[in-house]
Symmetry: C2
Subunit: 313 residues, 2 copies
């Protein structure tokens, strides 16, 4: 679908980092950035900017912090912009240079619906320093309708550029994407709406296509679908679908061949029955990730039963 | 989605057999049939009934032929019906008992659009012996529109129960499924429409859900998505989505755990870049299957380039 307004954001390092504590080699990240620039990807999200008072640099690789000097070793100024993500309550407000002195162009603030006031506060701070700002409302499949409505109404009053629908649990299917797209569009006139999907039910690419059909222009994807647990929308499928001639999928195939086939063997993101179960049941994947790591003391059916009976967020 | 008319057909052995020459152990097939009966699956397709004059029983396991005595070793009369598939030009018309003497209830005739006359001829023969009959029009993403229209008009004149949309190459996405669903429904009043998807672009489950939304009631799926190349719609996801209380996904999880995790390691169906490439480009997967089997003399990008320039069916 050729719609020049469409922007693709690659979140390989940021979301994939949830599987290896952001310990990607700089040589890989450097190859990735230049490959994605060749592929015509609009934004590359190179990690989080987490508060070093809360997270140790010993337990986490550099892409959990995205220091400017680390970013400059792997990325450069070009049409492909660098994005970073910040979680509310986990961010040091003093960790941002003025945008004109930073390689970063976009800061995405991640929050749950109940934290929307904090997200707006952090977003305003970052905006005042000159960055593009997105607010990514996570776990929207757990949001209470009136709370989500109020959050969107508040976001409508901001000068942030984008608001994202985030299906953190890989629960949603097309009709629900359509419903949320209509809601976000009507509540947020003048803002761009984005979509970030998880692949627990093999619906991440499909739901991203539904978002395109509904007029959403900001699309998250990751190389070979890397990301927490079941992972994300595979970038190679998204670029294969988009018909804008500025995109070229070949550099993504090259990166997969060079790095991501082996990484997948090691990190094991992607479709697995425990992730499918938490997706089907609209649950956080953490229990499924524990199941995948542990000796299988339980069967899939026992895990399913347990998840049916658990009431978590 | 609770719609009692919905029927689920498991094609694990029939389509999965394309990956191992139908050499599934009888103990597995027996467990599978009774597990799927417990799961509430409506039809289990246990294989092809191929012509033994054309295909050797030495080179192919029993489920390429589905002799009645083999079927009776693994299946039994119950609410879950046995289905078999027949290809036009590869079927011995004398290989069918009268339906009342057979364990088989449904015969599905597979053909490409240009073979529709042969399919109707074979379907009429099978129908006259008392079976339910479906015609499965394969590779619909390569069909010429007027030829497909004429095929459907001819099928409308038959007394077959079902006609299937088959996305053999895993090329279609939601809007195309909607388009075909509208066409099949308007051309085939009174018949049930079915859907059989391939998962090259991780859209098999998503497209099956779109088919449900469009009122199609016959849904193909396979355990853990087993099937040729990228495989099919995973049965466990489909049963997780359907809300009809007659379905129970647990026996499917048990079968996956007992057999299909190991089988997938061995047979390697599922999402792979070469299959994604043929799906994106609307090509038969045979070149991708050769790529997967061979020593990788070529890179993914070279394979993509080659597929861009090839004009095959």
């Amino acid at each position: 679908m050729y719609r020049p307004q469409i922007k693709v954001l690659d979140c390989t390092i940021r979301d994939g980092g949830l599987m290896n504590d952001w310990r990607f080699d700089k040589s890989l990240v450097k190859d990735l950035f230049s490959g994605l620039a060749k592929a015509g990807v609009d934004y590359v999200e190179l990690g989080y900017r987490a508060d070093k008072k809360q997270f140790s640099t010993k337990d986490n690789g550099p892409w959990r912090f995205c220091d400017e000097e680390d970013l400059r070793e792997v990325a450069f100024e070009c049409d492909t912009k660098v994005s970073i993500m910040c979680d509310v309550d986990r961010t040091d407000y003093n960790a941002f240079l003025p945008a004109k002195d930073s390689l970063v162009k976009l800061v995405r603030v991640a929050c749950y619906v109940p934290d929307i006031d904090k997200a707006i506060h952090l977003g305003n701070h970052v905006k005042s320093m000159g960055y593009e700002v997105s607010v990514n409302i996570m776990a929207v499949s757990h949001a209470l309708e009136p709370d989500l409505d109020e959050a969107l109404d508040q976001l409508a009053e901001t000068n942030f550029e984008m608001v994202y629908i985030v299906d953190s649990f890989g629960y949603l299917y097309s009709e629900q994407i359509h419903y949320l797209a209509n809601k976000y569009k009507s509540k947020l006139p003048g803002k761009e709406i984005g979509i970030h999907c998880h692949n627990n039910q093999q619906l991440a690419f499909a739901n991203t296509v539904e978002a395109i059909i509904k007029g959403m222009n900001y699309l998250d994807a990751s190389i070979y679908g890397i990301g927490r647990a079941a992972g994300n929308c595979p970038l190679e499928l998204l670029l294969g679908f988009l018909k804008n001639p500025k995109f070229d999928v070949r550099p993504v195939f090259d990166l997969i061949e060079k790095y991501f086939i082996d990484l997948k063997e090691k990190l094991r993101w992607g479709y697995e029955i425990p992730y499918a179960i938490t997706g089907i049941l609209n649950k956080h994947p953490r229990a499924a990730m524990a199941f995948m790591k542990g000796v299988h003391g339980r069967t899939f059916s026992e895990f399913y039963e347990e998840m049916l009976n658990v009431d978590d967020l």
